[in-house]
Symmetry: C2
Subunit: 455 residues, 2 copies
C-alpha cells in the first residue's frame, strides 16, 4: 500500500492476500450465516437498540485502512446482529429460506460481476434469461411472448403500466401525458401498493386509480368493473410460483388471458433477492419500442453478432443485474418436480397449521387461507370470551405489537402483523421457507402461547 | 427428495449436503473466476456463437433434478464461457476489476438475503446505509441531507427528476402531470441517455427535454441556459468517486451547489454491481413525502422502535437490495486514503497511456482526456497519412468493429467503441480496474498494433 506512484504496478493489488481473505470470509459465512443462521437452537435475531448497535458496529468511515483480521471480525459482527431470514422461525416476510443452489447462483453472479445488457459481456446470461423467461411463460400458458427480469415486483408492475399506456398511446413516449386523454388505472382496494407508487411515479397521479370492488379474498368483482380495460392488472406477484404445482395451479385459472404477468420467484421458491420476472404475451417487441433510447455507446448496430440479442434497450435501467442464474441453477438441481414438491409442501404445512389452530384456544383465523399465508389473531387469556365488550378490538389491536416486541427481544422467532380494513392488528404468517417442518409450526404456536400467557 | 408428503420433515432439506455443495462451489469460484479470471495469461473471454453456446450450456429446464456433481460441472461451464470483467484486459465497461473486500461484502449480502426496507429485518444495514450516505454527502460538501441507494444510476436519475417535479408541484403525486403546466427538462446533448428514458417513463415525454449547448467536453454552457432550473441535473454518475482525491476533486468544483447528486461507486471504486447512491441536499423528508404510500402491512406505526428508521417508503420499489455493505467493508479495509490512492492511480495510468499513444504511430486521440476514459482512433497502416482522402472517415469507421471482433474471438482483451457526433467509430478505453499495471497498458497498445497490422 505504501509503494510510490511512479512504480509500474498497481499500489493496492495483492491477489494471494485477497484470496486468503476471501477463504476466511467464506468460512465465517458458512459457520455464522448458513449453519447458525438455519439452526433452530440459535436465535433468529439479536435485538439491539439503534444507539447500542451503532456502538457495536463502529460504522464510521475513516481515512486509514484496517488489517484483514479486523475486517474479518467486522464480518462476524455484521452477521451476528443481522436478522437470519433463512432461519426456520423467520415467518416475517415472503422470502424466508435458503436454497444452497440458488445461493451458489447468487455468489457466482457476484463473482462474475457483469451487466445483463449485451451478449458481448453477458453471453451466458443473455441466453439463460431467454430460456428461463420462456419456461415461465409456458407455465402461464403462452407459447410465445417477451419478458425481462426487473429490480423487484414493484418496478415490474410499473413496467406493465408503462407498456399498457404506450401500446394504446405510443405518442406518450415523445409527447408525454399532457398530450393524451385522461387515463385511468382499474384495480382493487386490495392490490399491492406499488400500483399507487407507480401511478405517481409515472406521472399519472394517484387520482387516476379507480377502485373496483373486491370480494373478501381481494378478488375483483367483474360485475363492478364497468369499463373493460385493455391492460390486465399484473397479478399479485408472489403467487406465480403456484403455477409449478399440478395440484394448486387452478388457483390462477385464467392467468393465461392476462397481457402481462409479474412473477417473483424470490418469494415462494426461495431463490433469494431479487428475482422478479415481468412476462409479456406481446410479440411485437413492445419492450424495446417503449423503453429504447438507442444509446450508441452501448448498443452499436455494426457489431459482429446478432445485436437483437442485446437486451439493454428493453429496460429503463442502464446496467442491469443478472437475476436469472440463481433460479436456473436451482431449477436444474431440483427439477420442475422438485420445485412442485416444494410448493405442495408449503400448502401441506399451511393446512397442518390451520387445522391445529382451529383446535387450540386463543387462535382465531381472519379467514380460511386459500394460499400459504395465514392471517390470524392471537387472543390472550384475559380477552377470551370478551368479544362483545366495547373495547375488545382496541385491546386486541395492542396484542400483536406487544408479542412482536417480546419475540424479537428474545430472538425466538419473527412474524409480521398489520391492521387491514376494519380489522385490528392480526398476525400474518408466511409458509415459504423450504426447510420448515411441522415441528417448527408446533413451536410457533407454543411460543405465542408462552409469550402471551400473562396478557 | 422421495419422502412422502405426510412426513413431518421438509422433503428437500439436507443441510450437510447443501454445505458440502457450497464448499465445492466456492472452490470453483476461487479457481475459475477469481484466480483465472484475473490472470493475464488466461483469456478475458471465450467467444462462442449463440447457437453453439446454447448447446454447450444445455439451458433447458426439465422436470427432473440433477445430481450435485452435474450441477458443479454446470457452474464450471457457466464461469468458463462468461466474460471475465475482473480481468486486467477488460477495458470494455466502467466496472472492471475485483476488490476482495467488496466481493466479500457482496457474498455476505447474498447469504443474509434481506431487504433494506425496515430496521426490523435489516438493523445493521439501515444504520450502515445512513453512515455511508452521510460520508458521501460530506465529500460532496453537505453537512446534512438525505439519500438512498438505487438500482442503478438511471433509476437514481429518474428519482432526481421525480423529486424535482414533486418539490415544485406536490399536486403531481395525486393529480398527475395533466393537472400541471408544461414542464421542461434542461440538459445537454451529451447527458446520459437515462434522461431520455426517464422523461418517457415518468410521463413527461422526450419532447419535454430542452437541449442546452455544451462545449467540446460535454459541459453545459451557462450562457446558453436561458431559464434557470430549480433542479440541478444529476452529475454524470461515474465521476463522483473523484471526490475522494485531493489531487483531482477540483474536476467537480461547484458540485456542492447541486440539489442532488447521483454517484455510482460500482464504477471507479470497483465495489461491484450495483452500488448507486442518490444524494440529496434536502432535509424536509422529500423522499418519503414524494414516494410514500404508507403500506400498513410493512410500515406499521405502532412498532416498538423508532419507525423513522424504516426506509421503505423512501423508494418506489418495495423490497430493496442491500447495496451499502460492499462499499462500507471496502472502505473500512482500504480507508479513505486507500480509495484516494486508487483514484489517483487511475489518473496516473491514464496519463501514462496517453503519453505513450502520442509517441506511437497509428494512435490518434479524439481529445485530450480530462478524466480516466481515453477516446482514440487506431489508424491502421494503410490509412496513415490518408486523412485528406474522401473515404477516410468511412474506412476508419470500419476499423474498430473489425478489431473488436478479432480481440473477442482471440479472447486477448475487450474494449468498447462507438461513434459520436460526426466522429466515426473510435475506441473508448476505461482505466478503472484497480489491478491494472503499466504493463497491461503496454500490452493493450501492442495488441491493437498486432491485430490491425494487416489493415
Amino acid at each position: 500500500m505504501q509503494m510510490a506512484e511512479s512504480n509500474c504496478l498497481s499500489p493496492d493489488w495483492d491477489l494471494p492476500a485477497g484470496e486468503a481473505f476471501l477463504q476466511n470470509v467464506f468460512g465465517i459465512i458458512m459457520e455464522e450465516a448458513v449453519r447458525k443462521g438455519t439452526d433452530t437452537s440459535e436465535k433468529v435475531c439479536e435485538w439491539k437498540e439503534p444507539e447500542e448497535l451503532k456502538k457495536l458496529l463502529d460504522l464510521e468511515l475513516r481515512s486509514h485502512g484496517e488489517k484483514q483480521e479486523q475486517i474479518l471480525d467486522r464480518c462476524r459482527t455484521i452477521i451476528q446482529y443481522s436478522v437470519k431470514t433463512c432461519h426456520p422461525r423467520f415467518f416475517n416476510q415472503l422470502f424466508s429460506g435458503l436454497d444452497p443452489h440458488a445461493l451458489a447462483g447468487r455468489i457466482i453472479t457476484e463473482s462474475l460481476n457483469t451487466s445483463q445488457y449485451t451478449y458481448e459481456i453477458a453471453p451466458v446470461f443473455v441466453l439463460m434469461e431467454e430460456e428461463v423467461l420462456k419456461k415461465l411463460r409456458a407455465l402461464v400458458g403462452w407459447s410465445s411472448g417477451d419478458g425481462v427480469f426487473c429490480p423487484g415486483g414493484s418496478i415490474s408492475n410499473m413496467y406493465a403500466l408503462n407498456l399498457a399506456r404506450y401500446q394504446r398511446y405510443p405518442d406518450c413516449k415523445q409527447r408525454g401525458l399532457r398530450a393524451l386523454p385522461p387515463l385511468a388505472i382499474f384495480t382493487t382496494q386490495e392490490s399491492h401498493y406499488s400500483v399507487q407508487k407507480g401511478a405517481a411515479f409515472l406521472g399519472m397521479g394517484t387520482d387516476s386509480i379507480r377502485l373496483v370492488k373486491a370480494d373478501d379474498r381481494g378478488r375483483m368483482i367483474p360485475e363492478d368493473l364497468e369499463k373493460q380495460i385493455n391492460q390486465a392488472e399484473a397479478e399479485a406477484a408472489w403467487g406465480g410460483s403456484v403455477l409449478l404445482s399440478q395440484t394448486h395451479r387452478h388457483l390462477l385459472d385464467g392467468i393465461e388471458r392476462a397481457d402481462s404477468v409479474s412473477w417473483n420467484p424470490h418469494k415462494l421458491l426461495a431463490t433469494g433477492l431479487q428475482c422478479s420476472a415481468l412476462l409479456l404475451r406481446d410479440t411485437s417487441n413492445l419492450l424495446k419500442h417503449c423503453h429504447g433510447a438507442q444509446a450508441t455507446y452501448l448498443f452499436q448496430q455494426d457489431k459482429f453478432y446478432d445485436v437483437s440479442l442485446d437486451t439493454g434497450d428493453k429496460v429503463v435501467q442502464c446496467g442491469r443485474r443478472v437475476d436469472c442464474l440463481k433460479l436456473w441453477l436451482m431449477w436444474k438441481a431440483l427439477g420442475g418436480s422438485g420445485l412442485e414438491q416444494r410448493v405442495d409442501w408449503a400448502f401441506t404445512l399451511t393446512r397442518y397449521l390451520v387445522e391445529k389452530m382451529k383446535l387450540q384456544k386463543g387462535f382465531e383465523l381472519v379467514m380460511e387461507p386459500e394460499f400459504v399465508n395465514v392471517c390470524f389473531w392471537y387472543v390472550p387469556p384475559s380477552l377470551r370470551g370478551q368479544e362483545d365488550s366495547a373495547d375488545y378490538c382496541m385491546k386486541l389491536a395492542k396484542v400483536a405489537p406487544l408479542l412482536k416486541e417480546r419475540m424479537v427481544k428474545k430472538g425466538s422467532m419473527m412474524v409480521g402483523y398489520q391492521p387491514h380494513r376494519s380489522w385490528p392488528n392480526f398476525f400474518r404468517l408466511i409458509v415459504a421457507n423450504p426447510a420448515l417442518s411441522m415441528a417448527d409450526l408446533d413451536f410457533f404456536l407454543d411460543e405465542l402461547e408462552l409469550l402471551g400467557q400473562d396478557l
